[in-house]
Symmetry: C2
Subunit: 313 residues, 2 copies
């Protein structure tokens, strides 16, 4: 049994081109080639875990990912997020590898899904990247857009001025031109590719803020009660994309919009279908939304890539 | 992160008295002190996995168990069953230990649950232990009865004469007096403590075979389609016990009997309630049935015991 540490994973990641692998995963998923049961959840007093698991039918491996969020950890100097992915043989059930990534691979595959969404849905000419939030994904979503856009202008929104300045400093050091704002209207008027990355349960972007030609990737909301963008934005959007229509029934922005009758399931197209049929944005004035809740096939694809990298070296 | 191998677990097991720990676990579960989500399942072409997970609320750890069955493995010289238990801190979500037990601890905690069932439900004077099946649990269920009964007479039923003789030889070597039979009537007339351990989808024991004063622990049926004993046995039983009434709605003998209207949920009492209230067998003529589908609290308790044993030594 191969145990791969976070450190080893960090060393392997730069040599892995996970975007095409995850695109293929989404396409397989939407073509019904995957077996992905509903997400398992255990909610405890101090934290919660999500179990995502599944396989591509007839493939070599299946994955089980256990990801946790313990929101008081920060007070103990520990990261809130943790977890591991376990890769098993689909031929024998034997463990191939335990990837003790401590949530790193979840962060990567989530950022890659953001990049894939932008590839198919963002306007060609990106004026600025609007980042809502100042955490790990606020950084990674911007950085993982590199294969999709040359735009280095970021406008970042946050509630906490200190975290905003820290974000600005960090991303400036990485070569971005960063404007920090606490005014969401300012973000929406200057950015036409917006990524929302917060665990907010209150709407942060309302419909009146969103101008024609905007793409929004909403990846913060992954639970029934979380919501970052107004359901009216989904109603007025030309294209509403979900990474998993099944999961969107229960969680995320689409769940919120369905609940409010702002859209129906007929208005939603799956990311894998967008990829395989190439049915993304068709003109520069469309408003598009991609709602990402995270699908086990992403975990499978990145875990396989790391495992192959680790056993090759 | 502590990885504990099957070999280490085998060395630790003799020093662990898991029966009182698992009794306490069942009692906690039936008193509503646990948080145990529904069992996760992934069914693939060559095998299937079950994910059992949960915690005692406010305890130190939670467990996630991934157990697999790949029924063609035997043709490759590999065991059909495999898996691991992972113990995490309920305070921080950090991994405490990976117990790569390859299904051993599932076998142990299942056998212990059989012993607990017999402790509260079997008649005082056991004439013979009837074992239905000749596999791993057919052996372990008998051996783990040692703290509950001095009876060393086993009558074992199987379909395959070679496996029956192998069982007889193995258990005779361990000090049992073993009768092998292919006639279930013979088993039911001589044994008053019967344990069924097969994955059968057809009824093996019918109501007319069961004499007064018999206790049956049915542990083979853990899936919706599996059934070893006639639903009529549950109808005529004085006491019907489930390790988890919630799980019994979907799987096992009680599920089958509910489906056939042979019993209602009001006829079923949970094993943890039997333990905490001491409401087991009250006379030697009662017919009693314990239907075990396997509960995550058993996995938690045995995983904690192994972890404590491993870190103490």
């Amino acid at each position: 049994m191969h145990v791969i540490s976070k450190k080893e994973i960090e060393q392997l990641l730069p040599n892995i081109d996970s975007m095409p692998l995850i695109e293929k995963g989404f396409a397989d998923y939407s073509e019904g080639k995957c077996n992905i049961p509903p997400v398992g959840e255990l909610i405890m007093e101090k934290g919660e875990i999500h179990i995502k698991y599944g396989c591509v039918k007839g493939g070599d491996y299946y994955v089980v990912k256990i990801a946790s969020g313990f929101y008081g950890n920060i007070n103990m100097g520990l990261p809130n997020s943790n977890g591991m992915m376990i890769l098993f043989s689909q031929h024998t059930g034997e463990v191939a590898a335990i990837l003790h990534d401590e949530c790193l691979l979840t962060d990567v595959r989530t950022a890659v899904a953001g990049a894939i969404s932008a590839k198919y849905l963002a306007p060609k000419n990106i004026t600025a990247i609007g980042i809502v939030g100042t955490g790990v994904q606020a950084r990674m979503q911007a950085e993982y857009l590199a294969p999709v856009t040359d735009c280095k202008n970021i406008i970042v929104w946050g509630r906490n001025p200190e975290k905003l300045l820290e974000y600005k400093k960090d991303m400036t050091d990485k070569g971005y031109i960063v404007t920090a704002t606490m005014d969401m209207n300012e973000l929406c008027s200057s950015a036409n590719l917006i990524v929302t990355t917060t665990p907010s349960e209150d709407v942060l972007i309302t419909a009146d803020m969103v101008k024609p030609g905007t793409h929004i990737t909403a990846m913060g909301s992954d639970m029934p009660d979380k919501q970052e963008i107004d359901a009216e934005i989904l109603r007025m959007a030309d294209i509403v994309v979900s990474d998993s229509i099944e999961q969107s029934q229960l969680r995320g922005e689409i769940h919120q919009a369905l609940k409010r009758n702002a859209i129906t399931n007929d208005d939603v197209i799956e990311l894998g279908t967008v990829i395989s049929k190439g049915v993304g944005r068709s003109n520069e004035d469309q408003i598009t939304v991609a709602d990402l809740t995270g699908v086990a096939v992403q975990d499978l694809k990145i875990a396989e890539a790391i495992f192959h990298g680790a056993t090759k070296s």
